[in-house]
């Protein structure tokens, strides 16, 4: 089947190892690296293709091969022939199911390159996995079954590759052996794909007719496709340009990971160069401060470097001492990146728990971690039709465009220009799960014109004037638990003790500040966010703030806690069992809710998440309101 005039690269390598190991090592030492992903539908033959690449490049040892042969007979899907897919389907659970359920990474070498393959599953519900695999790839191999042509899945995979910014697309029309290597089948599929690709902004791709199972046009030109004059898959993979080469030509950026300070005479800034290059004598600017300096040395264990480029991990020393720490970005002095705190971005939702509009998440971008909130999405994208759909939130595997705001300015670039300074993840503050991946488009102008006003009178002097330590007593509990009653008693008692206080009550705030909000989950989150911000202003003014809100969600209470200086936030859990609160039913609300006349009522059809570790817990079944107030005041003033 192989063309007799082309040499088999695998064979040459093997001879070289046996006859001249030093020459082989020299060759291996100078190899470059290409990372690529393979995507296709369930039966397009991805695993078989990867198994074939590993097999042809001799990455399979004899003991593995023996196991493979026996497995092929037991559970294989190829009759008595070797089922290459069994080589790459990893975890026991999925080996039995016969599908790949996570991203797996494989490795092989040819004479010119080392390859890392991300094996991505094709199921609809695994957008998450494909985006993960694509995020580190230079190239994507999109597999099409020659018998089936361009499918919905093909479109979805192509769209995701485009979204993540993969420029090199290979359209591998697989299983050509099953259509008798018919050129018209191949040409028809390429024509279909060309029309679709242009519509989503893929302007070039390389199409090739292959058979992973039989080995056609994988490492050697196939005699079965004399009508095809393009490269084999491996030829193409060996010569295509890698991302890091392109990154080196952009302006210099190094996100600082760690400040290296072994003694008073050495101060270096360590990080991985994201783009561009740097050498001693270069003028640099540190963002967000904007301070400038000159690089004196590029330090490594192997000696100082004359120049370092994108992709290298280095340590830089400066001519003068300027403030620079983890999260800062060192950049070319004359071409710095932007700094902003409001953005538009594309989000890919990765978690079973959907996006909570308005809730604060951790946002990690390069080495910067800030708190960020996401607005209601402008739209989501239907990945099968590319249509824009109006949505209120983003569920698992959804892709949407939304605005987001951060609590501190971020040094950034558009994702299209710089993956490192434009790609980010969102992390749930309670579970610490990575819930979303995002790609920044641009900053929103309004943020740039609103600056913090530096105040001459400090919060300490305001508190000092009142002769008290400011604090927030944050009451939480079911409707009818006794929050407002106890909060009132606490305020009266503090007032009598000459303390300056202010009580924010749920119902009262909803008549004014929050009159535009209802009781949906998103509105409840916004309600608490606003009250949290007001409480923050009031503690800054030196007051003791008492709030009485149901505040059912743990995440929002934690969000408010993070707004208030440490040691000044007291979560007061008014612990009343639902049955007791419902029996009291002071405002008749439980009756209404039970009758179905009141929607989203906490405890009935909306959850209450009790605090895990409140500063103060009051059991109202054993404590009177007066006793409770005394306990709370003691806890607040006890150690002050």
């Amino acid at each position: 089947m192989a063309d007799a005039t082309t040499t088999d690269p695998v064979y040459v390598t093997e001879t070289l190892i046996a006859e001249d190991i030093d020459a082989y090592l020299d060759q291996h030492q100078h190899k470059t690296m290409l990372r690529f992903i393979t995507c296709g539908s369930v039966d397009d033959g991805k695993s078989t293709l990867i198994g074939r690449l590993l097999y042809d490049s001799k990455m399979i040892f004899e003991d593995q091969l023996a196991a493979l042969e026996s497995d092929s007979k037991k559970v294989g899907t190829q009759g008595q022939e070797i089922d290459f897919a069994l080589l790459v389907d990893g975890l026991a659970a999925e080996r039995e199911q016969g599908i790949t359920i996570d991203v797996a990474y494989r490795f092989f070498n040819t004479e010119k390159r080392k390859f890392i393959v991300a094996d991505c599953p094709g199921h609809e519900q695994y957008t998450r996995n494909m985006v993960t695999g694509a995020s580190t790839a230079d190239l994507a191999v999109i597999l099409i079954d020659a018998r089936k042509g361009v499918l919905v899945q093909t479109r979805r995979h192509s769209y995701l590759c485009r979204l993540i910014g993969i420029r090199n697309i290979v359209l591998a029309v697989n299983k050509m052996d099953l259509v008798d290597y018919d050129q018209s089948v191949f040409d028809g599929i390429v024509a279909d794909y060309t029309a679709f690709a242009a519509s989503i902004g893929i302007d070039s791709f390389t199409a090739m007719p292959i058979s992973g199972f039989k080995g056609d046009n994988i490492t050697t030109r196939s005699a079965n496709t004399p009508w095809y004059s393009g490269p084999t898959l491996v030829d193409h993979l060996e010569t295509v340009e890698v991302n890091s080469a392109r990154d080196a030509e952009k302006p210099f950026r190094l996100p600082v990971q760690w400040v290296n300070r072994p003694n008073l005479d050495f101060r270096g800034f360590s990080g991985l160069i994201a783009t561009g290059s740097v050498k001693p004598g270069d003028a640099v600017r540190v963002l967000p401060s904007g301070k400038t300096s000159t690089v004196t040395s590029v330090v490594t264990l192997d000696g100082n470097l004359d120049e370092a480029v994108a992709g290298q991990s280095v340590t830089l020393c400066f001519a003068n001492e300027i403030d620079c720490s983890r999260g800062n970005v060192i950049s070319a002095a004359d071409a710095p990146p932007e700094v902003a705190d409001q953005f538009e971005a594309t989000l890919v939702w990765l978690n079973e728990e959907a996006l909570h509009v308005g809730r604060a998440y951790w946002l990690k971008l390069a080495t910067q971690t800030v708190s960020a909130t996401v607005q209601q999405p402008k739209y989501a994208v239907n990945v099968n039709t590319m249509e824009h759909v109006a949505v209120k939130t983003l569920e698992l595997n959804a892709i949407g465009v939304a605005e987001l705001a951060t609590d501190k300015p971020l040094v950034f670039e558009a994702y299209a220009d710089n993956r490192t300074l434009g790609g980010f993840i969102l992390v749930d503050k309670l579970t610490n799960a990575t819930v979303a991946a995002g790609m920044l488009h641009f900053s929103l102008r309004r943020a740039q014109n609103v600056h913090w006003q530096a105040l001459d009178i400090s919060r300490e002097s305001r508190a000092g004037l009142k002769n008290q330590a400011p604090a927030v007593l944050w009451f939480t509990g079911l409707s009818g638990s006794g929050k407002s009653t106890i909060a009132n008693l606490v305020e009266k008692q503090l007032f009598r003790m000459n303390r300056h206080t202010f009580l924010l009550d749920g119902d009262n705030v909803r008549h004014g500040l929050n009159r535009d909000l209802g009781f949906t989950e998103a509105d409840r989150i916004e309600n608490i966010r606003r009250v949290g911000e007001v409480a923050r202003l009031m503690v800054d003014a030196g007051l003791i703030v008492i709030t009485a809100f149901i505040s059912p969600f743990r995440a929002e209470r934690e969000m408010v806690r993070s707004l208030i200086p440490e040691g000044e936030f007291f979560e007061v859990f008014i612990d009343t069992p639902l049955a007791v609160a419902e029996e009291r039913d002071v405002k008749g609300l439980y009756k209404k809710a039970r009758a179905g006349n009141l929607k989203n009522f906490t405890g009935i059809d909306s959850p209450y998440e009790a605090p895990a570790n409140p500063e103060i817990r009051i059991d109202t079944t054993t404590t009177t309101p007066e006793e409770a107030a005394r306990l709370i005041v003691d806890a607040l003033l006890g150690d002050r």
Partner: protein, 301 residues
Amino acid sequence: MIKTLTHLERLEAEAIHIMREVVAEAEYPVMLYSVGKDSAVMLHLARKAFYPSPPPFPLLHVDTTWKFQEMYKLRDQMARESGMELLVYQNAEAAERGINPFDHGPLHTDMWKTEGLKQALDKYGFDAAFGGARRDEEKSRAKERIFSFRTASHGWDPKNQRPELWNLYNARKNKGESIRVFPISNWTELDVWQYIHLNNVPIVPLYFADERPTVERDGMLLMVDDDRFPLAPGEVPVMRSIRFRTLGCYPLTGAVESTAKTLPAIIQETLLTTTSERQGRAIDKDAGGAGMEVKKQQGYF
């Protein structure tokens, strides 16, 4: 013309980046040090990552008391040279019960290594531990994350691992949870050898062929490293030119007959050989095809 990085330069930069992220974000990191060739590379990378400072974390050796003598020698030497603190942990219960590879089979690995590692991590309260595992070693490792999360009881749940995008690692965790971090995940065995070769990384001499006293057990060639090795009546160890492809407890580690005395010769032999790396160890075969996967869920590295 701008320099294009070689694959080894990119792998090195990636590993250094990962180590620096952990040091910046974890509270109390540690590097697991098994004295094998992967550990040797890890230690070298750590020294590069933080130079001119010494790596800002200790080395932890979970000892089974059954390692080769030459391993103990190199371990102590490397700790001195790197300026790092060396912590050696031995499971007291295993010592007390006299658990050994000759009489106790799989229990030996379970008590000394799996339990020993858990106990050591709990004792010192480490929240991040660097390991030298690679994705190419074994099928179930091909899907392992670079930051692998463990519950407070050190369990590994394959369904509950975090997606890793770009080179952004989420190192956040709740109290008691910990992360195992694998900076050389994307290296192959050949990469490791070549890196050792190019950087003159010190490794245990047992990787090089030499005349050593050996006996055969169940088709494996074992080295008689000390007088704890039970010989059959009348059995005399035979001197053979052997070397090791992986190093563990000496009674559990099979040698190969070889004359490779230089790194290029070792690499040549590795590339031309027909059995995969872990084949020399008994551990993968314990539970049929899924041996390593089951071990991992129990908390083995």
